[in-house]
């Protein structure tokens, strides 16, 4: 049996052990917001959190990331392309939905003719310690998108919060190695396992939002010009909240920065979103997605149509951040449900005919 028990009072000990080899990231509370941050003091860790506000994708896809640096020496240009630090990162306390987003992002950055090696390197250096979600919020809908609150698949080590202790389950090879080194961890009993299983079941049952996303991608594409888009995008103000707080949104902008005085510079990428008008604006002034409708539609379709068509997976992990933080409360669930209604209506009409 490879399951172990980590007592909550031993978190410090665990931190001491892990921080020797890893940069230790964990959830902390900063100005009332939970965020994942590098921990220098294990006391800062917040363990009774629901989820972070900014998704942990930040760790593998930083808000501002240098793509390469250059320096001009006379006529020579020296390019430094090895910009991703060779440090191992341990992400403690990632929720299963966000862990699933790491898998989605990885498939996206690996697919196709070109691979994003910067992302891949960061991802490779990251070890995920997931903690099961015992009390999902009403905005969560992870069970509708191929994952669930105790999904163990996408993490290296999975923890279940058993009130005063964690049940530690190593999942991947990386995780097994990590747990092996922590030989002071007690073995788990049958009772603990049972308890964890029960928690997992209760958590799954407590998710009330169910979205029917089966075959939706084809239907959405068929209804590309539906009036429903107009209706649901009307209140959208076109900010980037939903995208920036989305664990699977990965679009970026590329910017050059120049240090004129020292003849050097760097090319960086920063988060960007299809909600901004400038995102697709051509230099000529032509904009393929000129209005809120098109831009709003693009984001929804990217998640629920283009992702399924290309990767065979829904590009959403059901974390509910966009629902919670949208400034105008333009609820994603409402939009999906509207289309489902339309779909069912059409189906019924077909049957009648």
């Amino acid at each position: 049996m490879s399951e172990r028990i980590l007592k909550k009072e031993d978190i410090n000990k665990f931190y001491e052990a892990a921080s020797k080899t890893y940069k230790f990231y964990g959830p902390v509370r900063e100005k009332g917001n939970i965020i994942f941050k590098e921990i220098s003091n294990p006391e800062d860790l917040v363990l009774d959190y629901f989820n972070s506000k900014i998704p942990p994708k930040e760790i593998v896809l930083p808000r501002t990331e240098t793509l390469f640096e250059y320096e001009m020496k006379g006529n020579d240009i020296i390019i430094n392309d090895d910009v991703v630090p060779d440090e191992k990162v341990l992400l403690f306390g990632i929720r299963p939905c966000d862990a699933y987003s790491f898998t989605l992002l990885e498939t996206f950055f690996k697919e196709g003719k070109y691979q994003d090696d910067l992302f891949i390197k960061r991802r490779k250096n990251t070890t995920l310690i997931g903690i099961g979600c015992n009390e999902p919020k009403s905005t969560c809908f992870c069970t509708s998108v191929n994952t669930h609150p105790h999904d163990k698949e996408n993490v290296d080590v999975f923890l279940t919060d058993l009130k005063d202790k964690y049940l530690v389950v190593p999942i991947s090879e990386k995780g097994k190695d990590l747990v092996k080194d922590l030989n002071w961890l007690e073995k788990a009993t049958e009772k603990d396992l049972e308890k964890a299983l029960k928690l997992s079941e209760t958590a799954e049952l407590s998710i009330k939002t169910k979205l029917d996303l089966k075959d939706l991608h084809e239907f959405l594409m068929k209804n590309f010009n539906s009036e429903l888009w107009k209706e649901s995008s009307q209140s959208c103000i076109g900010c980037g909240t939903c995208a920036f707080l989305c664990p699977t949104c990965s679009c970026f902008d590329v910017i050059d920065e120049e240090d004129k005085y020292n003849n050097r510079g760097r090319r960086v990428r920063v988060w960007d979103t299809c909600q901004f008008c400038i995102y697709t604006l051509h230099t000529s002034g032509h904009n393929p997605r000129p209005g809120r409708i098109q831009r709003f539609r693009n984001r929804i379709l990217h998640k629920f149509s283009y992702y399924p068509i290309k990767q065979g997976l829904i590009g959403c992990v059901g974390c509910g951040r966009c629902i919670q933080y949208c400034p105008v409360n333009n609820d994603l669930r409402k939009i999906i449900n509207k289309f489902n209604e339309l779909k069912n209506k059409e189906k019924e009409e077909m049957v009648v005919a």
């Binding site: 090895d82 090696d117 679009c251 590329v254 090319r267």
Partner: protein, 279 residues
């Protein structure tokens, strides 16, 4: 693994002003390293991300043909940040090149067919690359009749004048030039591209039409081609989109689930009709 965002370094070998207004220039670039040139295997219609370090990067279609060895050429119009910076460049300056990117014109599938090349204005650069490629001694025998129709606003805007003259002297290609309004000393045709296509285009049997130009020209020309019984699969288009990474990761050039930078920029009309109208 190599970092896909790092450009290969080249230097500007020559700069040639192409039009009277002097806002279109052709830059000839030579790679600093021999092996970079060898790795840069492209077909006409592909593009590359050109960058001026510290200024930015922009996608530009390759104007030279793979048959012209030793250097690569790009025709750049002064438009935005990077292209303006390019126009301020001098010979010998270092330019970063990332590429070749995109799918390019399907030169293999076009073998044995009659080819109609229709270009308008500044968008002629990748078509120039293609024509040059087709006319190369090694390739000419693989293709049927070649017709080039090239329209411009006025004679001052006509790009690649020397190349056009050279082609016009050959008897295995028909070159038709047109300008929008009558002008003194102009030998070619006068009128928009679409009616000229109607006039000179060969039959649609075993033919393929390649269209590249401003949106309104594409629209009218496609209408004419359809009238001439060209099927959707026989009409090829090269699209333009705002791009950043050029390798399908930054997300902005999507039309539906297709990325113009990876799946395009060349699409057949049949493919375009499948895609949402967001280009």
């Amino acid at each position: 693994m190599p970092n896909p965002y790092v450009p290969k370094l080249t230097t500007i070998k020559s700069i040639k002003a192409e039009n009277k207004v002097n806002d279109i220039k052709t830059f000839e670039l030579v790679f600093k390293k021999e092996e970079d040139l060898k790795e840069f295997n492209y077909i006409p219609g592909q593009f590359a991300e050109l960058s001026l370090l510290g200024k930015g990067e922009c996608p530009i279609g390759i104007a030279s043909s793979p048959t012209e060895e030793g250097s690569i050429k790009f025709t750049i119009k002064k438009m935005g940040t990077v292209t303006t910076a390019f126009h301020e460049c001098e010979k010998g300056q270092v330019v970063g090149v990332r590429g070749p990117l995109g799918n390019g014109w399907p030169v293999e599938d076009m073998k044995g067919k009659n080819i109609v090349i229709i270009g308008g204005g500044f968008a002629f650069s990748t078509l120039r690359s293609l024509t040059e490629y087709l006319l190369d001694d090694k390739n000419r025998k693989n293709y049927g009749d070649i017709t080039v129709i090239y329209g411009n606003r006025d004679s001052g805007e006509v790009l690649y004048k020397e190349d056009l003259e050279r082609w016009q002297k050959r008897d295995d290609i028909q070159v038709v030039l047109t300008i929008d309004r009558e002008e003194e000393g102009w030998n070619g045709k006068v009128g928009f591209v679409a009616p000229i296509v109607k006039e000179v285009a060969p039959s649609s049997d075993n033919a393929v039409a390649l269209v590249c130009g401003p949106p309104i020209m594409i629209k009218t020309t496609i209408a004419v081609l359809e009238e001439l019984k060209f099927k959707d699969e026989q009409i090829l288009n090269s699209l333009e989109m705002r791009m950043k990474c050029g390798i399908g990761k930054c997300g902005r050039c999507n039309i539906g689930d297709k990325y113009v930078c990876v799946d395009g920029p060349v699409f057949s009309l049949a493919e375009l009709k499948q895609m949402p109208n967001e280009y």
